[in-house]
Amino acid sequence: MTTMAMPRQTFTLAWRSLVQIKHNPAELLDLSIQPIMFVVLFTYVFGGAISGSTGDYLTFALPGIVVQNALFASITTGVGLNTDLTKGVFDRLRSLPIARSAPLAGRILADTVKQAWSIALILGLGIVLGFRVDNGVAGVLGAFALLLVFSLAASWIAVLVGLLASDPEKVQIFAFVVIFPLTFTSNAFVPTDTMPGWLQAWVDVNPVTILADATRGLLTGATSASLIGQSLLWAAAIAAVFAPIAIRTFRQKV
């Protein structure tokens, strides 16, 4: 196999994942409508009650919503992988003379593109609704990069779940059972001061809180190198634990 073959095959398989969206409006809904609903509902339903005004709340919560959405979106890698495995598409791909890593790499590449689209959509909508970016283009690009790196790390968990689950619905259930409480027990949507002490203790160390605060720093107010560093450390730790297990499971399974 030539060295150029693997990237070409990866791009071809990424193309395939993106073309799927064209024929599957539900996926477009997941990628677009859901983030829009979160931004609009949280801002106008909770905004006044939590922050006194929708504008103040948007400034606080938009970075949190971006983080929550990125973590939820990372599950699509697991759902897609599991669908390919259970429907037999993976067997077809594996019987072809292509690089063993291309199907997984192609999927992750396509999901990163989808992830970037959702992040851009939420930030764009937020700006239309009155969210003010204080740190300019550099801040936005920094937040983008941080979120993509973190969700890429988190997608290794999704890959593992996608490989182990018996059907795509189970992957979705995992997303709800784990990611829902994980993102809500953080300061992504609500300031922590009204929470009970034991919960605050958890919220303070929850990586979602750290990532939300780091994103806030990049978009508005003071950028904190320490929070960005901690977020990247978390991403590195998640990848260091889950990537080897996922790759080993992948090799055994396929």
Binding site: M1, A5, R8, Q9, T12, L13, W15, R16, V19, Q20, H23, N24, K87, G88, V89, D91, R92, L93, R94, S95, L96, P97, I98, A102, V254
Partner: protein, 318 residues
Amino acid sequence: MTDTHAILAEGLVKRFGGANARDGVDLAVRRGSVLGLLGPNGAGKTTVVRILATLLRPDAGRATIGGHDVVAEAHEARRLIGLTGQYASVDESLTGTENLILIGRLLGLPRAEARQRAAELLAEFRLSDGASKPAKAYSGGMRRRLDLAASLVGRPQVLYLDEPTTGLDPRSRNEMWDIVRGLVGDGVTVLLTTQYLEEADLLADEIVVIDHGRVIATGRPEELKGRVGGQMLAVRPMLVSDLPIVESVVARVSGATPEVCDGLVTVPASDSALLPAVVRHLDDAEVQIGELALRGASLDEVFLSLTGHPTEQQEVSV
């Protein structure tokens, strides 16, 4: 051997969940021939195909495709094979054209060539109408034809068909058989697994029957049928109430245990005197005969005598 044989396998063993080691499966498929792999559910047919398609490593034994070892030279083996069946599937959310272009591109065809090959195959398999529809909107027969087209993009020398017509209506099944005959005419070597004995009988040059992960019979369809003594005697009484008498008479005269199915009593007829003797005894017992025939054994009967249990189809109907 590798010059004349497209597929060679020796002592293939795969253990699942602590099951005991099996004797292993030996196969030798000549270039341009069709091998029918038969066996009940769970016999190991799909496991054999998955090993030969490089999807599963054998625990013991070895196999080569066109001289390339399926484990050590998997990449080279993959260049020669095409896989179609219940497990290797197309992407349901892509159109027929997109599915075939995807495979073509992965095999290294330039964009224009991949598109051209896709159009060619869609036309050949009468899928042009569905070319721009997602595969999930296809009928069962169209789906199978697209599956088969996808495995032919790279013009494979060896084609695995894993239960290619399971669940298809008779018309689609006939179409599929014609397509397979056409491929064999073009020189493709085919390994076919099936639960339909009729399918193996019609398409296969040679049949291998496996059960519990080992080969229990090999031969041309006629040879296998000949093994059960060739002829079968079938008697159907006019009245169902006479069935027990017919059964006991046939058993006594032939000295074998007859099969009773749907009011028909059958027994291997190794002796030419059996027919007149049965008629005489039934006449003495005043049984009216509705149907009486001597005929060649069907593969179903061969299968029953080899495995000791009927095919799935029969199990369902009983």
